[in-house]
């Protein structure tokens, strides 16, 4: 039953195509007849000079677009010259625009219709189709122009897609899971000096890094603060993570990866807002007393906490890795860090 219906449909489609093909050949025949018919659009003389100009402009635009790709490939991501990238893209668009302007002014024959927009009138519609067809008649090297245009468009598209190469890792997300923190890693300050527990005062904040590791890694930087141990409300499994009330959190916001650079603390807690770590980008606000839970803003998960311990000499050391993965969230973010 079904196969039968399919067969009928296929036959109908084939028949339709054949008939359309017949109509097309009719049209072609009438086209050759229309050679004698009077043109609507004046023929206009071919302008090879203008064509050359358009080709040149498109070629320059292509060079600029490729310049963007080359610049992007040449420089390290941290040292990308923004001005150069901007100039390349801007000039490419500018030259494409100039090429199109020259084309419309010098190469395409224009005919102005002063009537109202035509209704569904087959005669007039055919007329418009004819105008469109005829207006390209001045162009002598249609294929070359089309090819160059396609090349320019392709180069511009390539330039627009190039920065996407920096996005990632796409398949292997393991680097995102790794942090330099291990049990026993010493906390050092921005100058590389070891931080001792006695250095950490209340009412202020410290930025810390793992000793001997790259401070630029997303899992490196910490914000360290000392809180009143009596006020700490850490989850049960983190009870030993804050020796003498010293807590450490990743300094990278879990929303968009900015540095959580704001620390607020009340001078007079009776009437002022409570202690919080705040990200300056979108004001995600994290509660340091309860393990970095989000109390305001767009962040979707708590700031990862680093367990701390104090060694025999009073120095601050990590007692393990973060409580969760560091940095902005992605699909596998809730897995445990390694």
């Amino acid at each position: 039953m079904k196969a039968w219906q399919w067969l009928v449909a296929l036959l109908a489609a084939l028949l339709g195509r054949l008939r359309r093909g017949a109509r097309d050949t009719d049209a072609a025949a009438s086209d050759s007849e229309s050679a004698e018919r009077p043109r609507i659009v004046p023929a206009g003389s071919p302008e090879r000079k203008a064509e050359n100009v358009v080709l040149m402009l498109l070629a320059i635009a292509t060079v600029f677009a490729l310049g963007f790709v080359v610049t992007y490939a040449e420089f390290a991501p941290s040292a990308l010259p923004n001005e150069l990238l901007g100039i390349c893209l801007g000039m490419c668009c500018l030259f494409i625009g100039v090429a199109l302007t020259v084309m419309s002014k010098r190469l395409v024959v224009t005919e102005e219709l002063e009537d109202d927009y035509p209704q569904a009138n087959p005669e007039q519609q055919q007329e418009i189709a004819e105008i469109v067809h005829e207006s390209g008649s001045r162009i002598t090297r249609k294929r070359l122009l089309l090819g160059t245009g396609a090349a320019t468009g392709g180069a511009l598209g390539l330039a627009a897609l190039t920065p996407a190469l920096s996005v990632g890792p796409i398949w292997d997300t393991r680097p995102l899971d790794q942090t330099p923190w291990r049990r026993g890693t010493r906390l050092v300050d921005v100058h590389g000096r070891a931080i001792s527990a006695a250095d950490i005062e209340q009412q202020t904040f410290y930025t810390a890094f793992p000793e001997g590791a790259d401070p630029e890694l997303i899992g490196s930087s910490l914000v360290v603060i000392r809180l009143d141990p009596a006020k700490l409300r850490l989850p049960a499994e983190r009870l030993g993570w804050a020796p003498d009330g010293i807590v450490a959190y990743s300094k990278i916001c879990t929303h968009a990866g900015c540095a959580v650079a704001l620390y607020r603390k009340p001078l007079f807690a009776v009437v002022e807002a409570n202690n919080a770590l705040v990200c300056p980008c979108h004001y995600s606000t994290f509660d340091p007393f309860t393990g970095g839970t989000v109390i305001y803003g767009p962040a979707g998960r708590p700031l990862p906490q680093l367990p701390l311990m104090v060694d025999a000499l009073g120095g601050l050391r990590a007692a393990g890795n973060f409580s969760a993965r560091v940095g902005p969230s992605w699909w596998a973010v809730r897995n445990k860090p390694t």
């Binding site: 002063e114 005062e201 007079f268 009776v270 009437v271």
Partner: protein
């Protein structure tokens, strides 16, 4: 049955009410500072004690003991404030000279909104001397920004201050408070704020920021009064977002003008 009042009578009554309310509002003294009848011309801890009792004690308690739980004071205004024993000359000098105190409402931020100094210099000196005598505490810092290094100051500022105050010291917001801009703030006041940590700002002791590092920070902050804008037009030194917006405001009209020049529209 109740007689229906004409609208004219109602309007007149409303006017009377409004007038009465206005008279009451204007009758309140604006500053509300209480002063002794004969005020000596030279600063003294005695004058400070009198001024303190009249203007500060309703929130900060008798002899700087502090009031922990808000309670109605004069005119049923809620009073609560931190103890002032042991704050030394540092805190009263900063708060009074910035115009942050006295605070109209204890829930307000003592800060950018209400910078008005209601006490004369003699009165400020007297209160500072009195509060400093309540317990041993830090003195007024004397920063010497000329001895600091601008580069070190910028690094330090970027690490500890710029998160809230913005790298060119233009201020901003933190959840729960407004962050004041740092222009036209004297070197002493900058140093005082660093050592006190007013309102929600962290406090930085001499072990975290040494006096010489503080000199550098103050020098950097003072330099933001006239930053050298290498890029040209600074647009208020507010950062990349306003700069981008201005670029669009210039580029947009240019694009529209060129579109109009390129295309043509036929009038019928």
């Amino acid at each position: 049955m109740m007689r229906k009042r004409t609208p004219a009578v109602g309007l007149g009554l409303a006017w009377l009410f409004a007038l009465g309310a206005a008279v009451v509002a204007f009758a309140q003294p604006r500053s509300g500072i209480v002063r002794p009848t004969t005020e000596p011309a030279v600063p003294s801890a005695g004058l400070g004690a009198e001024l303190y009792a009249g203007n500060c004690a309703s929130c900060h308690g008798i002899a700087g003991a502090g009031i922990r739980s808000p309670r109605p004071g004069a005119g049923d205004i809620l009073g609560a404030g931190p103890p002032l024993r042991g704050v030394g000359a540092l805190a009263p000098d900063f708060y009074l000279r910035m115009g942050f105190m006295p605070l109209g409402n204890i829930h307000d931020q003592p800060g950018p909104e209400q910078e008005r100094v209601l006490f004369s210099d003699t009165e400020v000196r007297s209160i500072v001397a009195y509060v400093a005598s309540l317990g041993s505490g830090p003195a007024i810092p004397q920063p010497r920004p000329s001895t600091g290094s601008l580069a070190e100051g910028q690094q330090s500022f970027a690490l500890r201050c710029a998160g809230c105050h913005q790298i060119v010291g233009r201020g901003g917001f933190v959840t729960g408070a407004e962050v004041p801009p740092l222009q036209n703030v004297s070197a002493t006041k900058i140093a005082e704020a660093v050592r006190i940590g007013p309102y929600l700002m962290p406090r930085f002791s001499t072990t975290q920021i040494s006096n010489s590092e503080l000199n550098s920070i103050v020098r950097y902050v003072r330099s933001t009064n006239h930053p050298d804008n290498h890029g040209g037009w600074s647009i208020g030194n507010l950062g990349p977002i306003p700069e981008g917006l201005v670029a669009w405001w210039i580029a947009g009209p240019l694009l529209i003008i060129s579109c109009r020049m390129v295309g043509r529209r036929r009038r019928r």
